[in-house]
Symmetry: C2
Subunit: 305 residues, 2 copies
Amino acid sequence: MSYFNVRILGCGSATPTLRHLPSSQVLSFHDRLFMIDCGEGTQLQMRRYGIAYAKLRNIFISHIHGDHFLGLPGLLSTMSLHNIEGEITVHICREGAELLQTIMEAMCREPSYTLRYNIFDPAASAVLYEDRTMIVENFPLFHRVPCSGFIFREKQGPRHMRGDMAKFYNIPHWQIPAIKEGADFVTSDGTVVPNERLTTAPTPAASYAYCSDTAFDLRVAEAVKGIDVIYHEATYGDKQAARAGIRGHSTARQAARIASESGASRLVIGHYSKTVTDSSVLVAQAAEEFPAVIAANEGMKIDIR
Amino acid sequence: MSYFNVRILGCGSATPTLRHLPSSQVLSFHDRLFMIDCGEGTQLQMRRYGIAYAKLRNIFISHIHGDHFLGLPGLLSTMSLHNIEGEITVHICREGAELLQTIMEAMCREPSYTLRYNIFDPAASAVLYEDRTMIVENFPLFHRVPCSGFIFREKQGPRHMRGDMAKFYNIPHWQIPAIKEGADFVTSDGTVVPNERLTTAPTPAASYAYCSDTAFDLRVAEAVKGIDVIYHEATYGDKQAARAGIRGHSTARQAARIASESGASRLVIGHYSKTVTDSSVLVAQAAEEFPAVIAANEGMKIDIR
């Protein structure tokens, strides 16, 4: 498993079933964990799959529906009982931040860590998180309440130094970082060796987009254009397309059309309605539009690279 | 299984483990269900054990700690998604009612049913619910936050008519209900046959007390005096008695002393700390004080009669 993957903790929808839990995922990037949504039972799923509370520093909440949010107060309380220290940031809309704050005031007034709210506008796009190697943005989804998707983008790494060229020109070690960043090399006789002869292209940066909950809308495809792996809700199958529209949800086929339009390399569907008893039916419908599709399941780990 | 029983949905404590879920129980009395506490995951446990949402009309919350409360918003939302109608009453302290109301306003503004709050003072005793055959009272527990236990008391039924006497005196059917309630019978020649010759004593009414969370306190034994079956928290074993005191919890042995002092016929222990890996150790310690003790477990059904 590579350094960039997503673990599905829950991929059911609002009405709980014994097949699926409500929405939550943990994205792992190098040694950092990012949580996306936190339905009821998420903290237990973390224990089940041995996910360390201590590595979780950023939690992204798409919208304030119970099946995406109600596991958060319990998780945050438990993290305090475990004496997690440092800063935990919850990226959330204003209404959600106020609600969470009220609950925390009543239930976990003085957590062991500093709880920070990064309030975003679900109707706009913005950078929510950035470090040296990763950038996280939100973008609008189209649901019954204000709702946001999230894009996790690995930053482009440096170019690769060609070993044969380093040897041929006898390049001093101290110059290599600059060459990886694009500098040319100047030999002792003043000859300029252009960078493209010395290096090969960097490893393409990988990216992941989370799209739940949303009605079918081509603006979503636009927002996630060029993203490698897309998780898109597929609450219903073809037969319930009308219901999907009414409820602000998508069918598996619609999810596949978004993946196809956006030029994704892979699609993961989830957020199944309680009426979906066999996700392979959804996969079959989606595959007619976009063949590289799989059905999410609790515990599944998806390699993003 | 008799018409009066309790199903354990969760008997762990605040820090979740894979062994136990947070606190919740469903008491079944004839065709009515009463929920006691509602930790995270309770709605899923209801599905797991096939407990019908529609029969649940009264929910009692002991105190506003996450492991006793955080399943409630999700359960109430799901009950609305299931279009449950009529009236649902949550018996809860004022702070809890305000918190729940805030969450419901944000997440489930117009439930399919009427949500009623019956606010009680956890520091006092009061009748919270009463119908023809059952009465529910709260009483104070001694925890880090205001906390209440609950007593479920079957009302005493009528005396039993002796078939031989009914036949001997040829008692008309229409007089039997009154005789069961204690009336004498007057024969056609004016002879008064006293009730005690005609009837036998009623079936003793059964009762159940829920005591979680609480430090060891003999006032609890006083409050539950004469109750048949007691559920008492036993967060720790003997070795952690000091920690129990500090955290406002009890050991298994202390739970047993409460049962013994109150004259209970049976004791069920639960609310195990994450450090308790084998509840039989707790049972052994409790049994030294009160032999009729069992350890609660998820799914267990306890007959109260």
